[in-house]
Chain length 402, copies 2
Amino acid sequence: MDKYFELNVDSVIDYVKSKIDFFSSDAEYKCNEIGDGNLNLVFRVFDSKNNKSLIVKQSLPYVRAAGEDWPLDIGRGEIESRILGIEYKLTDGLVPEIYIYDPIMCCMVMEDLSDYVIMRYGLIDGEIYPKFVDQISDFMVKTLLLTSDVVMEHKEKKESVKSFINPELCEITEDLVFTEPFNIGARNNIEESLVEFHKTHIVNDEKLSLETAKMKFDFMNNAQALLHGDLHTGSIFVNKDSTKVIDPEFAFYGPMAYDIGNVIANLIMNYLSAFYGMADGDKKDDFCRYMLSTIRDTVDVTKAKFLSVWDDVVTDTMAKKKGFKEFYVEDIFANTAGVCGCEMTRRTVGFAQVKDLNSIEDDSARYKAKTTNLLIAKELIINRTTAVTGQNYLDLLSKYCK
Amino acid sequence: MDKYFELNVDSVIDYVKSKIDFFSSDAEYKCNEIGDGNLNLVFRVFDSKNNKSLIVKQSLPYVRAAGEDWPLDIGRGEIESRILGIEYKLTDGLVPEIYIYDPIMCCMVMEDLSDYVIMRYGLIDGEIYPKFVDQISDFMVKTLLLTSDVVMEHKEKKESVKSFINPELCEITEDLVFTEPFNIGARNNIEESLVEFHKTHIVNDEKLSLETAKMKFDFMNNAQALLHGDLHTGSIFVNKDSTKVIDPEFAFYGPMAYDIGNVIANLIMNYLSAFYGMADGDKKDDFCRYMLSTIRDTVDVTKAKFLSVWDDVVTDTMAKKKGFKEFYVEDIFANTAGVCGCEMTRRTVGFAQVKDLNSIEDDSARYKAKTTNLLIAKELIINRTTAVTGQNYLDLLSKYCK
């Protein structure tokens, strides 16, 4: 196979046999195509006799729905597999393992996550994930702190910054997260009932615009650490025991707060979805209590790990100076609140929204959830330096959620 | 000439004739070798009949003083000529014009600046430069603002960031400016009489160390604009009419404050040199008055130009929000004071010092100049958010210069 061709459920089995020594010699091969096959072909290859499986993800050279008129860079999987490789090592397995990347066939052969679900949908179904806080905080502290100048040799870090500069995908974030939701028009997607509210409370709030502008420039200029870049609950696979972060295609060197704020924002929006959307009763009460503790602990445990890991990993002489650790971490969490507010805003009025809020069927409950979300978001952005503990977030939620 | 060879005063004339249509056909060619010839060969080729001249600067593949055992990247002139080309365009000629860069011979053929002097030495001789403030402020505002995300298309700016990542030379600054002077040892170069002062007032001041650490991380992570990176008075050629910035080998994307702070620091050190080192009399009084107004105006004129140019050049939607311009510029000038303090410190106790201070012959005057310099530097770093106008600098100088 020295030339690219599109795999199918038959040829992928031969492909796997020729590429990787993974299955037993007595394997009984089966294969399904999974995924929507629009940008990538995704196959699950499994041995039904010995219960082993893997995933083959092949990049398509065009958007299938649009045909060959919309070409795509076929090498994008190479970057994704490089980042997953880095994150796998740094986090001891909190992303899927990449067994092989094949640059000719543009294939990643990787760990099968069939026994996981996408966290957003699990949470919408009211599932709880007892290991999540510990694992996502590990993921963030390790991928972020260990790729920063606090820890990395500075010349090596600059080469890493250079190799992960990501203009096209950063532009999407700059526009969709930090610009369009705070203005009228563009690709915003605003429910009719929210149009006036958006204009009055978001677009016309000069203080909010100013503080968001500051967040945008921090996002564009602050090459602090290698971010995942799109760390919402749709990029996280979970089950009761394990967490796996996927889809790092937005990765670049940016402010640590961007990843942490995205996680917290998506937890908050799920909480609001439950608070306003679930039928009253024990199940709702239990789930809401679980989500509140998850929000609080994600902030507090992540922060505590930054502070406790710091002394073991710091290499920069000036970063060891008294007080710097506390300054640095406090600054991350103030900006985290700001990012959190931007993500909450854009997921309510921007181009790409979340099912958590949009799936609330009752119009008035959905209106209440979305407006509450926007008001909390606003306060997080404007008063971000005072939203730096888990309890600060819970106080805000209890202030607005009536 | 399809292969590199070292030029000499004879071959360079043929080289110039073959490469560039610059001199008249009746030219009477003369040539001098200028410069120390350690890293580069520098020739001035001139036509004594028509009074025209140019410079040929050829990179050597090794450090001549050390012999062939210390090899150098011969292509470094390519980067320098690229940056000078960008700066020439942006500033309408406030750097020497590059006529040709020849990648085979590793030669820049460029504008002759023989009728300029290096500003540091001119100032040490008590010369005044009436056009300097207007020209250096133009240089800074144009090279900085026009290469930032405020103005540039963001994807193009990221490609520019990528192409100017400069790990080796940034490391020199990180170590020599932001680390070693605030610690004991390393390559510091401290007069015997200052050893205790340095330890007590600099190294043992925890607040100073903490604030310097913040400045260091801003330098490393804040890819705000394309900096010159080494903008002291030794990198500036001047005469009564004109200013030309040279030697941009440290250029990279960093915080605008780094360039501005370097200029101001070197002006302040020259003022201290005059205040403590010049013989009392009218000449000293006039020159000190001139230096104080130059320091004040460099701050205030540069800031005023940032603010006045902004509305004409800004393209980013969020950067146009009310209050952002003032926030952005104020932030630059607070960090400028911090950089200024770091530069003043390292030029007094660090590896690379300045003649302004070291040439004061009287021991006690030199001690007074250097300790005053360190105390002002410290206050600039720690209280940088309150040193944002020219008058703030003059107040500090009058507080400490007794």
